[in-house]
């Protein structure tokens, strides 16, 4: 398939993904905004004022980057895992499998669809956050790069989860039992400097800590970890997950008989 035809296939998948989450916006865009607004009110305004500073910043300012990142992570993942699994469940994925669209374009189309939802939700949450605190960005490049790469990483993870899933329960297990705990323990609500050395060491095994802190570094200019290593780690994870996804596609894992 020529590069022009592949580009059309890829952009068709991407457009369909965007159209899907925009069509069901009350399910895809509104709930995360409501949830995050509650976090801002409760943790930021009500409890946050009693906590005082965290990492040298008022708690509200500290927690906002983490909450934005949390919404990007969960929505990127949720978009791809639910869309791709639904396509498998309804067998509409066969529309793509019988077409000449290369596997990498199928994966890239779904992943970029997830990235689009993650970033749109992240942007809306950012706008909501501005009602509660003033936001300035210290390092624009770092902020944009880390939020984009994080959305790519979790969209890929959602894609792989959807390939393996054989029931709707299977697409909620990872978000519930892996993603949520790692996100909550990934430095969204606190600086790991508050923890004992043992728990600090354990926290540093959590990849989400690096993404949240890199994003916080981009916005506030402070971080618990080395941002350069965070970028390298995210890129390595993306490469690994992309290879895994392509391997599954090329072997037709749970897609072809």
């Amino acid at each position: 398939m020529s590069s022009r035809l592949t580009w059309i296939s890829f952009s068709t998948i991407f457009r369909r993904e965007v159209r899907r989450f925009m069509r069901i916006w009350p399910q895809t865009l509104v709930p995360p905004v409501i949830t995050m607004s509650l976090y801002f009110v409760i943790f930021g305004s009500l409890i946050g004022s009693r906590i005082g500073d965290m990492g040298g910043y008022p708690y509200m300012e500290f927690v906002v980057p983490g909450l934005i990142m949390m919404s990007v992570i969960t929505n990127s993942y949720a978009n791809v895992v639910s869309s791709f699994y639904s396509a498998k469940f309804q067998r509409s994925i066969e529309e793509l499998l019988v077409s000449p669209t290369p596997n990498w374009a199928v994966m890239a189309g779904y992943v970029l669809g997830g990235v689009a939802r993650g970033l749109i939700v992240g942007l809306i949450v950012t706008l909501v956050a501005m009602f509660f605190t003033s936001l300035s960005v210290e390092h624009v490049g770092v902020t944009i790069a880390i939020v984009f790469l994080t959305a790519v990483l979790f969209s890929l993870a959602g894609f792989i989860n959807a390939i393996y899933a054989n029931s709707f329960d299977a697409i909620s297990i990872i978000p519930t039992f892996v993603l949520t705990p790692l996100t909550y323990l990934g430095g969204v609500f606190y600086s790991i400097e508050l923890l004992s050395p043992f728990w600090q060491g354990l926290s540093k095994l959590n990849p989400i800590l690096y993404m949240v802190n890199s994003f916080r570094y981009g916005i506030l200019g402070v971080s618990d970890i080395n941002v350069a290593w965070a970028f390298i780690g995210v890129l390595v994870f993306i490469a690994l997950l992309a290879s895994w996804g392509l391997y599954l596609m090329s072997h037709g894992k749970r897609l072809r008989h």
């Binding site: 398939m1 020529s2 022009r4 035809l5 592949t6 059309i8 296939s9 952009s11 068709t12 998948i13 457009r15 369909r16 159209r19 069509r23 639904s86 396509a87 309804q90 067998r91 509409s92 066969e94 529309e95 793509l96 499998l97 019988v98 077409s99 000449p100 669209t101 290369p102 037709g252 072809r256 008989h257």
Partner: protein, 311 residues
């Protein structure tokens, strides 16, 4: 001439050891209207699944208009359109979007995909439903939607896996007319169906598959010539108490106004009418008890079963 579809020694063994295809071979010529028949579980859908890449073959080769699927599957896919047995579109998408999006998957620019979508939705009587979600369509409309979607890239070979299953007779006949029209325009068509009347009306050549092997591959005309006996139902105007005696013919009384008569190969129906007229019986109408292809199909598969018992 390069075959539209060439299948050589195709084998498929599923995980668990079930051998769905035991080395089938057949060819379909360009422009043909070809029937692939067989009972449930014979291997028809597995064969179609392998051709369109949804099932992986265990051995053998397939080429579509000379393009081997192992050497250039994307090019082979561009020549192929498939209408599957099960509905396989997003139930929540609109009819127009489903068809136009499929064009995009084949690399068609949006404008061309939209023009073709309009063309095929109009031809298949779905244009009024273009803004309707697919789940709101009737069963017949959903089948036509899948035909429109399969045609969006104007394939040279169209495979339809039981396209008229569950479709009422009026709609079935309009779908037949549409398929005959696109076949006349040059599209090679392969059809699997349980309605043997459909295969007899539409198709020129046939392959019968049973238990993963091809048991017959010939023209429908040649196949029908092998039919040794036909059974007819005759409706009579007189009240009949018993079946009239007809020398050389099997004749049974079905009810007070209907007779079932079996005519062996070489016998003439004219003799039947002459003898009935001589006995004062007037025939008002006549029909085959079963479709001719159906009689053959049943007898062939029965023979297979008997051979299996002998073994």
């Amino acid at each position: 001439m390069t075959a539209a579809l060439s299948i050589q020694n195709l084998q498929k063994t599923y995980e668990g050891g079930f051998q769905a295809l035991k080395g089938i071979s057949f060819e379909v010529q360009p422009g043909d209207f070809f029937a692939l028949l067989g009972p449930n579980g014979a291997g028809k859908s597995t064969t179609i699944g392998i051709i369109c890449s949804l099932v992986r073959k265990s051995a053998g080769s397939i080429s579509i208009f000379g393009v081997d699927i192992d050497s250039d599957f994307p090019a082979a896919k561009r020549l192929l359109g498939v209408v599957p047995q099960e509905f396989n579109f997003s139930q929540f998408e609109k009819v127009f979007d489903i068809v136009a999006t499929q064009g995009g998957f084949y690399g068609m620019p949006r404008k061309l995909a939209e023009e073709r979508t309009e063309k095929y939705l109009k031809q298949l009587g779905l244009w009024d439903k273009r803004a309707t979600q697919a789940r709101m369509l009737s069963g017949g409309m959903k089948r036509r939607l899948m035909i429109a979607r399969a045609l969006i890239h104007e394939p040279k070979l169209l495979i339809l896996d039981e396209p008229t299953a569950g479709v009422d007779i009026e709609l079935r006949r309009s779908m037949w007319a549409f398929l005959e029209q696109i076949n006349a325009q040059g599209t090679t068509i392969i059809l699997t169906t349980h309605y043997l009347e459909e295969a007899e009306s539409l198709c020129r050549n046939i392959a019968i598959i049973d238990k993963g092997t091809i048991v017959e591959n010939t023209s429908i005309k040649s196949l029908l010539k092998t039919l040794n006996r036909e059974t007819f139902i005759l409706d009579c105007s007189e009240y009949l108490e018993k079946a009239p005696g007809l020398s050389g013919f099997e004749c049974h009384l079905l009810d007070s106004h209907s007779l079932e008569i079996t005519v062996e190969k070489g016998q003439s129906l004219t003799e039947v009418f002459i003898e009935l007229k001589a006995q004062g019986v007037t025939v008002t109408s006549m029909r085959n008890r079963a479709n001719r292809l159906e009689e053959l199909f049943i007898s062939m598969l029965s023979e297979e079963k008997m051979e299996g018992v002998d073994e």
